[in-house]
């Protein structure tokens, strides 16, 4: 039975907005031009491929449902999802109160194979000594074998050979998948350009295409191979180890992607309407409107953001404890808290964009074409929609992409001080927070922190590179330099 969480709904709304904007941009040369030059930048394409992987995982993780209870194996509920729609004549299947996502389903092996406690990446034994009962009845204190990680190995000493073998297998599978994509893309391009398949392949490979397909394909190869190797290994090992309660860290990292993306994108979605409307109004109408809006945002931005967030989150927590019955599951509670965090982050972060837009509108309202429009008796609302908004859109776009990475990082920091997302929700911030105490251990437990770091770093780096390319494409001052 499908479940639509609040954030899911907003994500779908965001996708709809993005598609709508894409259609709008495609029909307006002043927007299509810069985006085209983004598409022609090698760095932009490479970053886009990486981001696409993250987004795909995040989207898979946003399709939620209640699994059927009597399902024999959790591998099948996908087909059963449609079942409840046709009003069941029979008593109907019973559904668990648990909420799972399509990604969970896909990662079931990772999700369900918990160990007892810490284990290092690729380990076959637990990280801590335990009393093990020998077949002869005596007990020894030693590192026990893991229940899942490397359990298929008869002799743990063969581990290296097994890993190499599986890596190679993953490599081959990954390359095969990549070749399929490559062939499909080349075929499609060749058809569009009216060339033969071979000519087109040669053009791509020598980098003669306008869109740097070669760079994109190399990045894609890297990501696919990495993905397949990880998939191949993760079935048998905990490739990034396990945490204190024995949960797979790789699984946690993948689940955290959605949290990071939601914070990065929904926050901007929340703040955009306020920033755009208030900013343009302040700049365009000036006078009293301007004064009120200016006082509003100067006041807001002088309250420490962390304080405001802490207060809001604590208030929400109190509310949720008092009204515990209105939440069906833990997931829903965590989701509400995530949404609330987005809201409060949005409220504290719209001032910057608002200020920028106010300045730009102040300049634009004095421009000759706005004066000409008012001489022609065009109404204020039309002037704003037709003359001001399209001319500040590039600022909005630059801010959105630049803010994204900052917000992803902000989540990590907030979770670290315990006012971030719900502790039950997977997020890089929570991973770092829980790994913090283990850093003092000897030998050190480094993998949770490292995993969160690598995943976050890759996303933020790609987003930053992409933002740079977008800014260069849209900044009118840089445009003349090229």
């Amino acid at each position: 039975m499908p479940v639509i969480l609040l954030t899911d709904a907003l994500i779908f709304l965001l996708i709809a907005v993005a598609i709508g904007f894409g259609v709008y941009a495609a029909r307006h040369e002043h927007l299509r031009g810069p985006w085209r030059s983004v598409g022609r930048s090698p760095v932009g394409i490479a970053a886009l491929v990486v981001i696409a992987f993250y987004v795909a995982i995040g989207l898979l993780d946003s399709l939620h449902f209640h699994p059927r209870l009597d399902a024999p194996t959790p591998a099948e509920p996908v087909q059963q999802e449609a079942a409840p729609e046709n009003g069941a004549p029979d008593p109907g299947p019973r559904y668990s109160t648990q909420v799972l996502s399509v990604l969970d389903l896909w990662l079931t092996p990772l999700r369900e194979r918990d160990e007892k406690t810490f284990s290092a990446p690729f380990a076959t034994h637990l990280f801590v000594k335990e009393a093990i009962e020998q077949p002869d009845g005596s007990t020894v204190r030693d590192y026990p074998r893991l229940t899942h990680g490397g359990a298929h190995l008869k002799n743990p000493a063969n581990r290296t050979a097994d890993i190499v073998l599986r890596t190679l297998l993953g490599l081959v599978k990954g390359l095969m998948a990549w070749t399929l994509i490559l062939a499909a893309l080349t075929w499609w391009l060749a058809r569009r350009r009216g060339e033969t398949f071979n000519d087109c392949a040669r053009a791509i490979w020598s980098g003669r295409t306008q869109v740097p397909w070669r760079v994109g394909l190399i990045t894609l190869a890297l990501m696919t191979v990495l993905g397949f190797v990880a998939a191949e290994l993760a079935v048998k090992y905990h490739i990034l180890g396990t945490d204190k309660v024995g949960e797979d860290v790789f699984y946690q990292s993948l689940k955290s992607i959605r949290t990071g993306l939601v914070i990065g994108t929904l926050t901007t979605l929340v703040m955009l309407p306020a920033a755009i409307i208030l900013g343009i109004m302040a700049g365009y109408f000036r006078g009293l409107t301007d004064d009120i809006i200016q006082y509003l945002y100067t006041t807001l931005s002088s309250i420490p953001g962390v304080l405001l967030i802490a207060a809001a989150i604590l208030m929400l927590q109190v509310y949720m404890t008092n009204n515990a019955e209105s939440f069906e599951s833990l997931v829903e509670r965590a989701d509400l808290r995530l949404l609330f965090l987005c809201l409060i982050l949005g409220i504290t972060s719209w001032t910057g964009l608002c200020r920028l837009l106010r300045g730009e509108s102040l300049k634009l309202r004095e421009s000759d074409y706005v004066q000409a429009a008012s001489a022609l008796g065009v109404r204020h609302s039309t002037v704003i929609a037709r003359h001001i908004l399209p001319n500040v859109l590039h600022i909005v776009m630059i801010t959105v992409v630049l803010d994204f990475s900052g917000l992803v990082l902000a989540e990590a920091v907030l979770s670290y001080v315990n006012i971030g997302v719900d502790p039950t929700m997977n997020s890089w911030g929570n991973m770092i927070n829980s790994a913090r105490l283990e850093l003092a251990r000897e030998p050190i437990v480094w993998w949770s922190l490292a995993a969160a770091f690598v995943f976050m770093f890759t996303l933020v780096l790609a987003a930053n590179l992409f933002a740079d390319v977008v800014r260069d494409a849209f900044d009118p001052r840089l445009r003349s330099l090229r």
């Binding site: 074409y369 000409a372 022609l376």
Partner: protein, 670 residues
């Protein structure tokens, strides 16, 4: 003659390389440019924008932008081949033996350093003198460029100086190295006529004292006639004519130069249309098989398009690149005004708009609570009458409030006092809702054709905006038909509808702006310097169009301008404005032939004219216009007035009526 030769440029060819998809595209901005400058001489490089004048100057200084490269040629300054010098040596030449001043003094000075520091920098680099003597030299230079109280001014920052003052500082910096050659790139284009006269006179004087040569780059024929000894006309990257100034103005040899001269508006050409050059300067990214001007030329011959013209002699010191001169002297018909219409009927039309005691004051607010501490009196009591089918020119220097008058009439700036009566209503008092009814009748055209159209909108939508907003044509189909009609009327063609403004040249854009204003069939159009951003030949096209529209549609214009030649060509009546008030009013002939107010006299005398016989002695105006926030007591003009009396400081003079059409505000006129 060779010993007094200072600079010899031969066959200078410069490319600007731009990267485009799939390779590079070279613009040949200078193609085989060659000229000579003698010591102490002024050579003017004349041409319209985009002809490669500035690029020639930058090539001489080797200051081309990154994408520019000098392909071939030689530049010999007093025997040194500048193009062969290593960069180290070249740095000593720049600002040392060769100085340069630019068009925009505002952006050429560093705003965070004092003027003195900036000049001292130039002095230190180029003079091997002791450090201690630098301040004295700075003051000496400032005095040389005629800045009063130089010791104090040296300690001031650029924003404390006026535009003319800044240009003087730039000249002082260029003089620091005692240059043999001064390159002046449109030095007065950004300045008012009275200030322009000051700067040009200063350059002349300095030249006489120091014996330096000047390469003056300009598009203004009047400036050339007043200051240059010789001139070279540039067209599409080539020099097409070189001559002595006297020979040139007696009879330009190249058809392009001829048309350029004829397109300058003057009072004599009032009756007819101005000469125009059809088309535009060809793009420079292709090679030319024949004469570059052939396709726009009114004397084009068959072989013009296929034969590259060489140099022909048109006089002892007059050379021209035109095949007409291949077999001796061609005859040009004298430039007569094509009398298309009978001379303007001087019958005064009925009064359409009455402006009475119009005031637009901007409050100056300070402090936390935005307390009003004073007012900028941009417009301070202006009376005007606009008559149907006639043109009233509002003349004045920048900052005198003439644009604000235009906006005040249209209610784009709300007047703080006075009335604007139109069609029985006082526009200054009615609300925005009722004003919409009158928007249809009152329209405006702006100065900068690049800024006055939304770059994100299609031309068709821009022109149709008023039709839509005022509900004149509600249907989309009908609106498009009307827009197509309008675009045809202004000579753009309806295929422009689906294009964006940046695809058009300045003149074409101004036509589109005119179409936008015409769309709602207005009775009055406020033209706010509509031609001052355009080249002379394009200006002529726009003026012709405006005149024709007035004849056909009976529109009245309030023509705001600082260009007296345009006024004499187009206007029926003139009002001269100084510091928010009108000082003199009358018909064009009255005011321009016989100015009575001292300010009008000074303004008219400062306008550079081509015809040497018409030249008046320039009345020297000291200083700059005071700030409209603190106008001087009494007559606003008295601190600068050469004829001021002690009584002038006491009260603002009453209006003196000289005839039915003529009023002056000066106590010396009675």
């Amino acid at each position: 003659m060779t010993e007094d030769l200072l600079l010899r440029v031969e066959n200078l060819t410069t490319d600007l390389v731009t990267r485009v998809e799939g390779g590079e595209r070279a613009l040949r901005v200078c193609d085989g440019v060659g000229f000579e400058i003698r010591r102490g001489e002024t050579l003017a490089l004349l041409g319209e924008s985009g002809c490669g004048k500035s690029m020639t100057a930058l090539s001489l200084m080797r200051l081309l932008p990154l994408s520019g490269r000098i392909v071939s040629g030689s530049v010999r300054l007093d025997g040194t081949d500048l193009l062969a010098l290593p960069e180290r040596e070249m740095r000593r030449v720049r600002g040392g033996r060769m100085g340069m001043i630019f068009q925009e003094p505002q952006t050429s000075l560093n705003p965070v350093l004092t003027v003195g520091q900036q000049i001292a920098e130039a002095v230190k680099i180029h003079e091997g003198r002791a450090k201690a003597s630098t301040p004295a030299r700075v003051v000496e230079l400032l005095r040389a460029v005629g800045i009063p109280d130089p010791a104090r001014r040296a300690g001031e920052y650029p924003h404390q100086l006026s535009g003319g003052m800044k240009q003087r500082v730039m000249i002082a910096m260029a003089l620091a190295g005692d240059p043999q050659l001064l390159i002046a790139d449109e030095p007065t284009t950004a300045l008012d006529v009275t200030i322009q006269a000051q700067v040009l006179r200063l350059l002349k004087g300095l030249q006489r004292e120091t014996g330096m040569a000047v390469l003056l780059i300009t598009h203004d024929l009047g400036v050339v006639a007043e200051t240059a000894d010789r001139l070279a006309v540039m067209y599409a990257g080539q020099i097409v004519e070189q001559a002595n100034c006297d020979d040139f103005f007696a009879g330009p040899a190249h058809p392009y130069s001829r048309k350029l001269m004829e397109s300058v508006p003057t009072a004599e050409k009032r009756a007819g249309e101005l000469a125009v050059i059809p088309g535009r300067v060809p793009p420079l990214d292709r090679s030319f098989g024949g004469c570059r001007f052939a396709e726009r030329c009114f004397r084009e011959m068959e072989h013009c398009a296929t034969t590259v013209p060489g140099w022909f002699r048109a006089g002892p010191e007059h050379r021209v690149r035109c095949l007409l001169w291949a077999d001796g002297q061609p005859s040009f018909e004298p430039a007569t005004a094509q009398a298309a219409s009978p001379a303007n009927t001087q019958t005064a039309g009925e009064a359409l708009v009455h402006v009475d005691a119009l005031q637009v004051h901007f409050p100056i607010q300070r402090g936390l609570f935005k307390r009003t501490v004073g007012h900028v009196k941009a417009v301070d009591g202006v009376d005007l009458v606009l008559r149907a089918g006639q043109t009233l020119a509002l003349v004045g220097e920048s900052g005198c409030g003439k644009t604000t008058v235009g906006k005040g009439i249209l209610q784009l700036e709300r007047p703080t006092g006075g009335s604007v009566r139109y069609d029985g209503a006082d526009l200054a008092r009615i609300g925005a809702g009722r004003m919409r009814r009158y928007r249809k009748d009152l329209q405006i055209i702006f100065q900068d054709p690049f800024a006055s159209m939304n770059p994100r909108m299609l031309v068709g939508d821009i022109v149709g905006e008023g039709l839509q907003a005022l509900g004149i044509e509600r249907g989309r189909g009908a609106r498009r038909r009307r827009v197509a009609e309008l675009l045809d009327q202004v000579g753009i063609g309806e295929q422009a509808m689906e294009r964006y403004p940046h695809e058009f040249s300045g003149g074409q854009r101004q036509r589109i702006c005119i179409a936008r204003a015409l769309a709602v069939s207005p009775k009055v159009i406020v033209c706010d310097e509509p031609t001052s951003a355009l080249d002379v030949s394009v200006q002529a096209q726009i003026l012709n169009l405006l005149k024709q529209l007035q004849r056909d549609l009976g529109i009245s214009y309030l023509f705001i301008t600082h260009d007296i030649s345009v006024v004499s060509y187009l206007a029926h009546e003139v009002a001269v404005m100084y510091l928010g008030r009108i000082v003199e009013r009358g018909t064009t002939t009255e005011v321009l032939e016989d100015p009575r107010h001292p300010y009008t006299k000074a303004l008219l005398s400062a306008v550079p004219v081509i015809d040497t016989e018409q030249r008046r002695s320039i009345i020297r105006l000291d200083g700059d216009m005071p700030s409209p926030a603190q106008p001087p007591a009494g007559c606003h003009f008295h601190p600068r007035c050469p004829e001021a009396l002690p009584e002038c400081a006491k009260a603002y003079p009453e209006q003196t009526r000289l005839s039915d059409t003529r009023t002056v505000r000066c106590i010396r006129v009675s």
